[in-house]
């Protein structure tokens, strides 16, 4: 494959106006995730309403007017301790329920449970979460940027381009490689941007400890995985747009695939089909969720996700390049 041609296609890919919109959308998502994490960055304790009975005095932290404030850690530690008799009620505290027993028919009393919260931005813990959140949007951004690349060509300059490079299959495959590299580079750029924001946020309003070589290795692997998902998604968007000559068809198809995924996944006969929808494996890859207890049907390993998505992308690229070679330009 000609490097000169690849270089040209990459320039063409990155020079489009949609790229500005796409990058802005990506930056906005990354920024949104960081702003959310930054807004939650605090060490103040949470107070949760509760109804209690028979909580020993040692757990009392202080009074808020007539309402006792108990230490959450202390109450949690009681677990099955001081309560006797039948458990009547469960009160949820921050996602964790604990039993409040009826002790000899004693009356339930309102109280506040205080739990120490450390939600400070801690890059070594929160960056992997940020990457996980931006993973799936990166897949869609990749599809959008790839599908708009060739669909725009068909209405405009493809005939002129073919007067300079008439080897159509080569032209299509070079465009495919360009959108894959382009998607991976954009994902990398946004991951670096996310890292920069996380570091600045952690340094100013959080904690920056724990960033050792091992951690960097793991985050590089995370980034590489999302880049891979975006890179595999790109030729899918390109192929569908080439076949339909419509960007919106490709984007709509992959968005619609999520709905189909939900419908098929809800049926016993549909689950094996859902497993092989490319968006299933691509999203599993992007968000790093594999195994039977995830939302991604039948995708149990990263290698499995990679294989399913890659085989579909390869098959669709081969089919589309053959069609592109024979297509008449009118």
């Amino acid at each position: 494959m000609s490097m000169r041609l690849l270089n040209t296609e990459l320039r063409r890919y990155f020079s489009r106006r949609v790229m500005v919109g796409g990058l802005l959308a990506g930056l906005f998502i990354v920024l949104g995730v960081n702003i959310f994490q930054l807004a939650r960055s605090s060490t103040s304790p949470d107070l949760n309403d509760a109804l209690t009975v028979g909580v020993p005095q040692k757990c009392l932290v202080r009074m808020s007017g007539p309402t006792p404030i108990y230490s959450g850690a202390c109450v949690d530690g009681l677990a099955n301790g001081p309560f006797e008799g039948q458990v009547e009620e469960h009160i949820d505290h921050g996602g964790r329920s604990f039993g409040v027993g009826v002790n000899n028919g004693a009356e339930l009393k309102p109280a506040l449970i205080e739990r120490a919260q450390d939600r400070r931005l801690h890059i070594s813990a929160t960056f992997s979460k940020a990457l996980k959140i931006i993973g799936a949007p990166m897949v869609f951004l990749s599809i959008l940027l790839a599908s708009s690349f060739l669909a725009a060509d068909f209405g405009t300059s493809i005939g002129t381009q073919l007067m300079f490079e008439p080897r159509r299959r080569l032209t299509y495959l070079t465009k495919t490689l360009a959108v894959m590299i382009g998607a991976a580079l954009i994902t990398l750029a946004l991951a670096v941007f996310a890292f920069a924001l996380q570091y600045i946020g952690s340094a100013t309003r959080g904690i920056t400890t724990g960033m050792d070589g091992h951690w960097f290795g793991l985050r590089l692997a995370d980034t590489g995985r999302i880049m891979l998902a975006a890179a595999i998604a790109a030729p899918l968007g390109l192929a569908v747009a080439a076949l339909t000559k419509r960007t919106v068809a490709a984007v709509g198809m992959f968005f619609g695939m999520y709905i189909v995924l939900g419908v098929l996944g809800g049926t016993s006969w549909g689950r094996p089909i859902a497993k092989y929808l490319p968006i299933n494996s691509l999203t599993a890859l992007a968000v790093n969720e594999f195994g039977p207890n995830t939302n991604w049907f039948g995708i149990r390993t990263m290698l499995g996700a990679l294989m399913v998505a890659s085989i579909i992308a390869l098959a669709l690229t081969a089919l589309t390049s053959a069609w592109f070679e024979r297509r008449e330009m009118r």
Binding site: R4, S15, R16, G159, L162, M163, F164, P166, E328
Partner: protein
């Protein structure tokens, strides 16, 4: 010397609205190297389909096309740098500037970027080179299309309706450009349905109608084609005398017309022109002038394609 383009028995059919349309029907054509070759035909005659087949945008249903003696589209990649083509409307990325569009094309073939500015200057687009293609007028788009053709400095230029959208000065510039290129030894293959344009520019022409070759030859050969010529006939005297002469000729079966100035025109085979004077003299009318009217390519074209057009109707 091998022909620049050699077409043998080219046929192209395609389906349109459930029917098979034969756009090109057994076309044989040879375009020699050098000079400006005009490709004439009415709208829908098959000019653009032929050009698309030459540049590989369409596959021929049957027949062969050779460019510089290489069969196309199979060997198009090996001769693509020698061929520049502008097929119908020039197509570029609308949101890129003219310069950016050309720059990317140049880069794909490894041409120096200075060449981009050079061709932009040649077509007079330097001032607007930085503007988005979408903002260009039809004429400017056409100029950019021609610039993209010149980018490769090709030996063969294929221009499909290059005067489309150009204003009169632009048409003159285009005509001059084609002549300059021809003077450099390049072959210019230009299709058009504007016959006066072809007549003033081309050395040789081919006329096609309904996908078939009707006639090919030098412009002079085409102009001298036909069985009748038109003559201006003047008789001394007032309009009454002229009317008498016209009535006399009409009565004798001649085809008599009046031009926009009221002058009498008669269609007659060249070898029988003298019979006009003899006939009028017999009626006591003396001819003061009997001059052939210069024949236009348009007249020749209409006469040559009359059968095909009639068949089409």
């Amino acid at each position: 010397m091998t022909a620049a383009i050699s077409i043998e028995a080219l046929t192209k059919t395609y389906a349109a609205r459930g029917q098979q349309v034969r756009a090109v029907d057994g076309l044989d054509l040879e375009i020699p190297q050098g000079g400006i070759f005009g490709f004439l035909g009415a709208n829908g005659a098959g000019k653009t389909t032929t050009i698309r087949a030459i540049v590989g945008h369409m596959r021929a249903t049957s027949g062969t096309i050779r460019v510089f003696d290489m069969p196309v589209p199979k060997h198009l990649p090996s001769i693509i740098d020698r061929v520049g083509a502008l097929v119908e409307a020039p197509l570029f990325f609308p949101n890129f500037s003219g310069r950016k569009n050309l720059s990317l094309l140049a880069r794909s073939r490894g041409f120096p970027q200075e060449r981009v500015d050079s061709v932009l200057a040649t077509v007079g687009l330097t001032d607007r080179a930085g503007s988005r293609f979408a903002t260009y007028s039809l004429g400017m788009k056409q100029r950019l299309g021609v610039a993209s053709v010149l980018l490769k400095d090709p030996d063969l230029l294929i221009l499909d309706e290059p005067a489309n959208g150009l204003d009169p000065p632009g048409i003159l510039e285009m005509r001059k450009l084609m002549r300059d290129l021809s003077a450099q030894g390049k072959t210019v293959f230009v299709s058009s349905h504007i016959l006066s344009e072809i007549e003033h520019t081309c050395d040789r022409v081919a006329i096609i109608a309904r996908g078939k070759l009707v006639r090919t030859g030098s412009v002079q050969e085409i102009l001298s084609t036909g069985t009748t010529s038109r003559y201006t006939v003047k008789v001394p005297g007032d309009s009454a005398v002229r009317d008498n002469a016209a009535r006399s000729l009409l009565a004798a079966g001649w085809s008599v017309f009046a031009d926009e100035h009221g002058e009498m025109l008669v269609d007659v085979a060249a070898e029988r022109a003298h019979e006009i004077t003899a006939h009028l003299a017999n009626d006591g009318l003396w001819v003061s002038e009997l001059a052939p009217v210069a024949r236009t390519l348009e007249a020749a074209f209409l006469e040559l394609t009359a059968d095909a057009q009639g068949g089409a109707q």
